[in-house]
């Protein structure tokens, strides 16, 4: 019975099934794993497990705790790349269930690490196991949504990936609420919060596991007729995952995603100190936290808005907007800072971060346009290694450039100017990658006989 529940065949939707039941199933998973973006709420409490109200000798250092998130993000990319083909083969239900076990279980293993005060167990639980849950959960519903919404693939995947951005908005206040609830004289409440969140997220992800359905092979939306007009960058053919990553298009898209994410993630991680240092004395720490919250909202909203817009203006044009508009806004930021134009500064970053989120959400539909629907989930998984690379590159770049300038006598308020121009350079590289995009050569296409296209 258990095996039949998870069989791909048992998830095939009956005739008349309403496809709008699938996005909330995907959202249940993405809203859960999006918690990762709010992991920083645990950073300080994790350094006070022994001292409770202050860091005592023997407590973990902030730099040690900080590795937990980095390991999880690296494992996200690695597991998405490694398990992508398996996710395609077994279907969304079993892969979403595996993600729920890994993510929920990761919290529980990490809680054991807190109980025994073993840092490696925290890394193993939240970083490795939780990271695998992030990667598998992230790609699980993507190809299913693309198959359900062939007429609006950008909107459909944007809706799910918006959930990943929205997950942090739920997790940040929820974590604070739970830690406050469980706090006693003997515990700062983090351990109990980890256990509770592990159980809550597992159950919430199970809603998605039970609700998800795949369309029948010959299913099409009622009244929808695929366009017969050939579109230069939208293929009707399919490219298999092991062939796709050998095409120049895959690496150009890797560059597009990596540059877009590097530029955004570097700023997102430094948003709070940045606005306080640029508008020194005019922005309090509480207001800076408000700025971070505002950026999170635009990060989430941009995912849906830009991915849905890409269905109308095309994927390549959408990224052209990201890169050109991004270069313009990043280059304006130092001037806005010098002028003290706080409102315009905030608005510029809100738009920039909306395009950062939009970059994540539009990439699955871009992949579908270039490589077809057959292996799009697995190809997406491999492309997410660009995110892992950007997750390391972006914050390091911003931190290093800022510190280098401060060490050389540049005032803190001006220390971000060079960083913004470096971000413009990164976006220019992304722009050139996108500009070079051409349709995939026919020789890579999957043949109807079951053979992959000719090897290059």
């Amino acid at each position: 019975m258990t095996s039949s529940l998870f069989d791909r065949e048992s998830t095939i939707a009956p005739p008349g099934y309403n496809r709008f039941l699938v996005p909330p199933a995907a959202l249940a998973v993405h809203l859960s794993i999006g918690q990762a973006y709010a992991f920083s709420t645990f950073n300080l409490p994790l350094t006070k497990l022994i001292g409770i109200s202050h860091a005592a000798p023997g407590d973990w250092k902030l730099t040690e705790v900080g590795w937990t998130f980095s390991i999880a993000i690296v494992l996200l990319g690695v597991s998405a790349a490694v398990f992508g083909r398996w996710v395609e083969r077994v279907g969304p239900r079993l892969s979403m269930f595996t993600a729920a076990l890994c993510f929920g279980g990761g919290f529980l293993v990490a809680a054991m690490g807190l109980h025994f005060h073993l840092l490696w167990l925290l890394y193993l639980g939240y970083g490795v196991l939780g990271g695998c849950g992030l990667g598998i959960g992230y790609i699980s519903p993507v190809s299913t949504l693309i198959k359900w919404f062939p007429d609006r693939p950008g909107m459909a995947t944007g809706m799910a990936i918006m959930g990943f951005g929205g997950g942090a908005l739920i997790a940040a206040p929820l974590s604070l609420l739970l830690m406050d609830h469980f706090k006693t004289a003997a515990s700062n409440g983090v351990l109990e919060t980890f256990v509770t969140m592990g159980v809550i997220y597992f159950m919430f992800m199970m809603i998605g596991v039970l609700a998800v359905r795949v369309p029948a092979a010959d299913w099409k939306p009622a009244g929808w007729v695929p366009s017969e007009r050939p579109q230069q960058l939208v293929t009707k053919a399919n490219v298999l995952v092991d062939v796709a990553w050998r095409t120049p298009q895959f690496w150009l898209l890797w560059g597009v995603l990596c540059m877009n994410v590097t530029a955004g993630i570097g700023v997102l991680g430094q948003a709070s100190p940045m606005i306080q240092e640029i508008f020194s004395g005019a922005v309090s720490p509480a207001a800076a936290a408000g700025f971070v919250g505002l950026l999170s909202l635009f990060n989430m909203g941009g995912r849906f808005f830009w991915a849905a817009t890409s269905d109308y203006i095309g994927r390549r044009n959408t990224y052209m907007v990201f890169f050109l508009f991004g270069i313009l806004l990043y280059s304006l930021v130092p001037t806005l800072g010098h002028l003290g134009a706080k409102g315009l500064f905030v608005a510029a970053f809100a738009v920039v971060i909306s395009m950062y989120g939009g970059g994540f959400a539009t990439i699955p539909a871009y992949l579908r346009d270039m490589f077809g629907t057959m292996n799009v989930g697995a190809i997406h998984g491999r492309l997410l290694t660009a995110w892992s690379a950007a997750g390391v590159l972006g914050p390091q770049l911003v931190n290093y450039i800022r510190q280098f300038q401060i060490d050389h006598g540049v005032a803190r308020a001006q220390a971000y100017s060079i960083t913004m121009y470096v971000m413009c350079g990164l976006l220019l590289i992304g722009f050139l990658c996108n500009l070079a995009m051409r349709p995939v050569n026919d020789r890579y296409h999957h043949r109807a006989s079951g053979q992959a296209g000719l090897r290059p």
Partner: protein, 32 residues
């Protein structure tokens, strides 16, 4: 089918709306 649709959308919509509201409350401090 309609009830199921409503329940599913509410299940994901309510937590999301709660998170957005909490974040907006926080974000408004920027303009005070």
């Amino acid at each position: 089918m309609k009830t199921r649709m409503l329940v599913l959308w509410l299940a994901v919509g309510i937590p999301l709306l709660w998170g957005v509201t909490k974040t907006l409350e926080n974000a408004l401090k920027l303009f005070h």
